[in-house]
C-alpha cells in the first residue's frame, strides 16, 4: 500500500482526468432521470430537478416501447461469440508469430496490422455481398462472421507482444523433460497466458460493442439489431430526438461494462506482475 503522501499525489493527478472522462456520464444520468418538460425548459438550472423529476419514465420507455432489451441480448451474444472465435484464431497465430517464426514473423505481423488501415466505410459494400451470398443478411451471424476480421489482427498483436514476455526457457525446460510440444502448450504456456487471454477478451468485446457501420448495414430488422445500431436508428425518428431515452440507453451498457473491465484489469495486471517470471 502506498503512503499517505503517495495516495494524495495520485488522487491529485488522476482526479482532473477522472472528472473530464466521467462528467459526460454524470450528465447522461441527470438527463435520463428528467421528465420531458424539465429537459426542454431553457430556464431550468441543469443541475437541479424540477417537480416532475427525477423520473424513471425514460428507462421505462426504453424497455417497454422499444426493443432495447433485445438489442442488449444481441450485443452480448455477438460479443461472446466473436470473443471465442477471436481467441480460437488469434491465440495460435500470436503464439506462432512470437515464437516459432523468427524473422519473417515480424513482416507477417506488420502485414496483418495493415489490414486495419482499410476503413469499414469502404469494406462494408463488398462484405454485404459476401454476407448475402452466405444467406446471413439480417441475422446476427453476419456480424459474428465479419467482426473477427478486425478483432483478430489486433488480438494477434496483443498476444504476440504478450507471448514474447514469457521466457522460452520455460518451454524448453518442459521439452527437455520429455513433453511434446502440444503438452507444453497446454500445460505450461496456456496457464501463463491467462492474463493475455483476459486482455484479448476485454479488447475484443469493446471493439465489438463499439462497431457501428457494419451493424447498421447488415441488419435492418429491428429485433436483430445491436445497441450500437438500434439506439441511433430507433430513438431518432425523423427529426425528433428522444434525448432522455437516448441518454438512458447509453448509460445502461456503460456502467456494467466498465465494472467488468475494471475487474478484469486487476486480474490481468496481477498476471503480469505475478506469475512465473524469473
Amino acid at each position: 500500500m502506498a503512503t499517505r503522501r503517495e495516495t494524495l499525489t495520485s488522487w491529485l493527478i488522476i482526479t482532473p482526468f477522472a472528472i473530464v472522462l466521467a462528467f459526460p456520464f454524470y450528465w447522461m444520468l441527470m438527463t435520463a432521470l428528467r421528465a420531458d418538460n424539465d429537459l426542454y425548459d431553457i430556464e431550468q438550472v441543469p443541475f437541479k430537478f424540477n417537480a416532475d423529476s427525477p423520473t424513471l419514465n425514460n428507462f421505462r420507455f426504453l424497455f417497454e416501447q422499444t426493443d432495447y432489451r433485445q438489442w442488449l441480448e444481441n450485443t452480448a451474444l455477438i460479443g461472446g461469440a466473436v470473443v471465442l472465435i477471436t481467441l480460437a484464431l488469434a491465440l495460435p497465430a500470436g503464439y506462432a508469430l512470437a515464437r516459432l517464426s523468427g524473422g519473417w514473423g515480424q513482416t507477417l505481423g506488420v502485414a496483418i496490422f495493415l489490414t486495419y488501415l482499410v476503413p469499414p466505410t469502404l469494406l462494408f459494400l463488398p462484405l454485404s455481398r459476401v454476407v448475402s451470398e452466405l444467406n446471413l443478411h439480417d441475422r446476427l451471424w453476419s456480424l459474428i462472421l465479419v467482426y473477427p476480421s478486425f478483432t483478430v489482427p489486433f488480438s494477434i498483436w496483443l498476444l504476440m507482444g504478450f507471448f514474447k514476455t514469457i521466457p522460452p526457457e520455460l518451454e524448453d525446460a518442459a521439452l527437455v523433460d520429455g513433453a511434446s510440444r502440444l503438452t507444453t502448450l497446454v500445460r505450461v504456456v496456456f496457464p501463463l497466458s491467462i492474463p493475455g487471454i483476459l486482455t484479448v477478451v476485454i479488447f475484443t468485446f469493446s471493439l465489438v460493442v463499439n462497431e457501428f457501420v457494419y451493424a447498421i448495414t447488415f441488419i435492418s430488422v429491428t429485433e436483430q439489431k445491436t445497441i450500437s445500431a438500434g439506439v441511433p436508428t430507433e430513438l431518432i425518428r425523423g427529426d425528433v430526438f428522444y434525448w432522455g431515452a437516448l441518454m438512458a440507453a447509453t448509460l445502461i451498457p456503460a456502467i456494467p461494462l466498465a465494472l467488468l473491465y475494471n475487474v478484469f484489469l486487476n486480474r490481468f495486471i496481477a498476471g503480469f506482475t505475478g506469475g512465473a517470471f524469473r
Binding site: 426542454y40 459494400l125 444467406n135 451471424w141 435492418s220 425518428r237
Partner: protein, 465 residues
C-alpha cells in the same frame, strides 16, 4: 411458410470457409444455434392468429421510422396486414432511420438481395439502373384516380430515359411556422421575406431570433433551396444545365447574410435536422421553416404557447412564391426483388386509396396523386384525435401543397446530379460562407459552381440527365 432464402445453395462459396463455419456452429452449442437460426422476426404483430393460414407469397418492405410513431403502428399493424390478407401475401415491414436509408440501399444493391419495396425519402435518381421502371404502375393509378401531381412527376420521372424510376406515394409540404404572439409585438407577419428581414432585429433583441439553418442537414438544404427559388434563382434549368451563377442567387445570398447578421445567432451553423424543432419548441425561435412536426410536437407536449404557433406558406420574395417539399416518399422496386408482382400491386393499391395514410400521419403525408384522397380541404378543417390539436391551423396546407410546392431541381427534374448536389450540402455551404463573411456572394457562387460542374458532367456522360 416457404422461406425462399433457404433454397440458395451456400456451398457456392469457398468450401473451406463454409466447412469451418459449420464446425464452428456445431462447436458453439445449441443455444447459439437456436438463436442464430431463428431468422428475422418481423413487424407483423399477432402472427400466431394467422399461423394456421399459410399465405402464398412474401413481400418485404423497408421504410423510414416515421416521425409520427402512430403512423408506423397503423401501417405495420393494420394496413399491411389487411392488404396481406386480401392479397394472400405475408407482408413484412422493416424500419430504418432516415439517415441510414442511403447506406442501406447501397448495401442491398451490392448484395443483390434485400427488400422488394424500398422507400426513399428523396428521389433516388442515382439508382435508376438498379430498379425496374414503374411506368405501368403509374399509368394504372392514373387511370383510377387521375394524373399524378406535378411534384410527384417531376421527382420520379426521367425525361431523358422516359422512365419512372420510382413511385411517389406522398410528399410533405414545408410551411413556415411562426409565433404569432411574438410577431404580434413587432406588428408584422412573415408573409414576405422583406417582412422577415424587417422584423428580425427586433425579434432577436427580444431573445427570439429567426431560425433558418445553414448547416449540413436536411432542413437547411430545403429552406435555402426554397429561398433561392423565391429570389428567382435555380440550381439548374429545365435542360439540366447549371444556373447557379445568377443575379437571383447573389440577391438571395446577400439577403441571407443580412438576415443572419440582424436576426439570427450562430447556432444555425451547428444544427441537425432536429435543432430547429428543439429551438422552436423551447420557445426560443420566432420563425422556422419545417414540416408540421413542430406544430404536432407542440400539441403533444401541450406547450404554453401551443396556440400561438401559426402556419403560413413560404414568404414571398422578388421571384415567384415557391417552396419545396420537405421530404418525398418514393418507393422503388429493385431489379433483383423477389416478388415484383406483389410489390407492384401494393403500389397500385396504395396510390389509389391514400386516405388512411393521409389521416393516420395526421396530415404529414400528402398524396402525390391528388385524386387519391377525396376532399382534402374539408378533412383538414375537421379535428383529428391528436392531443391538444389547435383547430384552424392546418387548412392552409392544402393551398401550400397545391400552389406553392415544387420539386427539388425546379424548373428541371429531380435528377441524379441534383441529388448529389443535395447530399453534399453544396447550397448550405454556399450560404454559410457568405453569411459569415468568409466569401463574397460572387466568390461563393463561383465556388459552388465549381463543385457542381464535375457532378453534372459525370451524370450527363452517363446519359442520365
Amino acid at each position: 411458410m416457404k422461406d425462399r432464402r433457404e433454397r440458395v445453395d451456400i456451398t457456392r462459396v469457398d468450401d473451406e470457409l463454409t466447412r469451418r463455419e459449420l464446425l464452428r456452429r456445431a462447436a458453439l452449442g445449441t443455444i447459439v444455434l437456436v438463436y442464430g437460426s431463428t431468422g428475422a422476426k418481423t413487424a407483423v404483430a399477432g402472427v400466431p392468429k394467422y399461423r394456421h393460414k399459410e399465405l402464398a407469397g412474401t413481400l418485404r418492405i423497408i421504410q423510414w421510422s416515421h416521425f409520427v410513431p402512430a403512423y408506423d403502428k397503423w401501417f405495420d399493424d393494420v394496413y399491411v396486414k389487411r392488404w396481406g390478407q386480401a392479397n394472400d401475401t405475408e407482408v413484412r415491414v422493416d424500419h430504418v432511420n432516415l439517415a441510414e436509408l442511403p447506406s442501406r440501399a447501397a448495401s442491398e444493391v451490392a448484395a443483390q438481395r434485400g427488400h422488394d419495396l424500398f422507400q426513399f425519402l428523396s428521389p433516388p435518381a442515382a439508382y435508376e439502373d438498379r430498379v425496374i421502371a414503374l411506368n405501368d404502375v403509374v399509368q394504372q393509378v392514373e387511370r383510377k384516380v387521375g394524373k399524378i401531381g406535378r411534384v410527384g412527376r417531376k421527382s420520379t420521372y426521367n425525361p431523358r430515359t422516359k422512365k419512372y424510376f420510382g413511385f411517389a406515394d406522398n410528399y410533405v409540404p414545408d410551411p413556415v411556422h411562426y409565433r404569432a404572439d411574438l410577431w404580434g409585438e413587432v406588428g408584422l407577419r412573415p408573409t414576405s421575406w422583406d417582412n422577415v428581414l424587417r422584423a428580425a432585429p427586433r425579434l432577436k433583441s427580444m431573445g427570439n431570433p429567426v431560425g433558418i439553418g445553414m448547416s449540413n442537414e436536411l432542413d437547411s438544404n430545403m429552406a435555402l433551396i426554397a429561398l433561392l427559388q423565391c429570389f428567382g434563382a435555380y440550381i439548374q434549368n429545365a435542360d439540366a444545365r447549371i444556373t447557379i451563377k445568377s443575379k437571383g442567387t447573389r440577391d438571395a445570398l446577400n439577403f441571407m447574410r443580412d438576415l443572419y447578421r440582424r436576426g439570427m445567432t450562430s447556432e444555425v451553423f451547428a444544427w441537425t435536422a432536429a435543432s430547429n424543432n428543439d429551438a422552436f419548441l423551447a420557445g426560443r425561435l420566432s420563425l422556422a421553416l419545417n414540416a408540421i412536426s413542430i406544430a404536432r410536437s407542440a400539441e403533444q407536449r401541450n406547450l404554453r404557447f401551443n396556440r400561438d404557433i401559426r402556419i403560413l406558406p413560404i414568404p414571398d420574395g422578388p421571384g415567384p412564391r415557391m417552396g419545396l417539399e420537405h421530404v418525398m416518399g418514393v418507393y422503388v422496386i429493385w431489379r433483383f426483388a423477389q416478388n415484383k408482382r406483389a410489390a407492384k400491386k401494393f403500389l397500385v393499391d396504395i396510390g389509389t386509396q391514400y386516405t388512411g395514410h393521409f389521416l393516420n400521419s395526421y396530415f404529414y403525408n400528402f398524396p402525390a396523386f391528388p385524386g387519391s384522397v377525396k376532399n382534402i380541404p374539408a378533412r383538414l378543417r375537421r379535428n383529428t384525435t391528436y392531443p391538444n390539436e389547435v383547430p384552424g391551423r392546418y387548412p392552409i396546407l392544402d393551398r401550400i401543397s397545391k400552389n406553392w410546392t415544387t420539386n427539388v431541381g425546379h424548373p428541371g427534374y429531380s435528377n441524379a446530379a441534383i441529388d448529389e448536389v443535395f447530399n453534399k450540402f453544396i447550397i448550405p455551404q454556399m450560404f454559410a460562407r457568405v453569411a459569415r463573411g468568409d466569401m463574397t456572394a460572387d466568390e461563393a457562387m463561383r465556388a459552388a459552381h465549381r463543385e457542381m460542374t464535375p457532378i453534372f458532367r459525370k451524370w450527363r456522360s452517363r446519359k442520365k440527365i
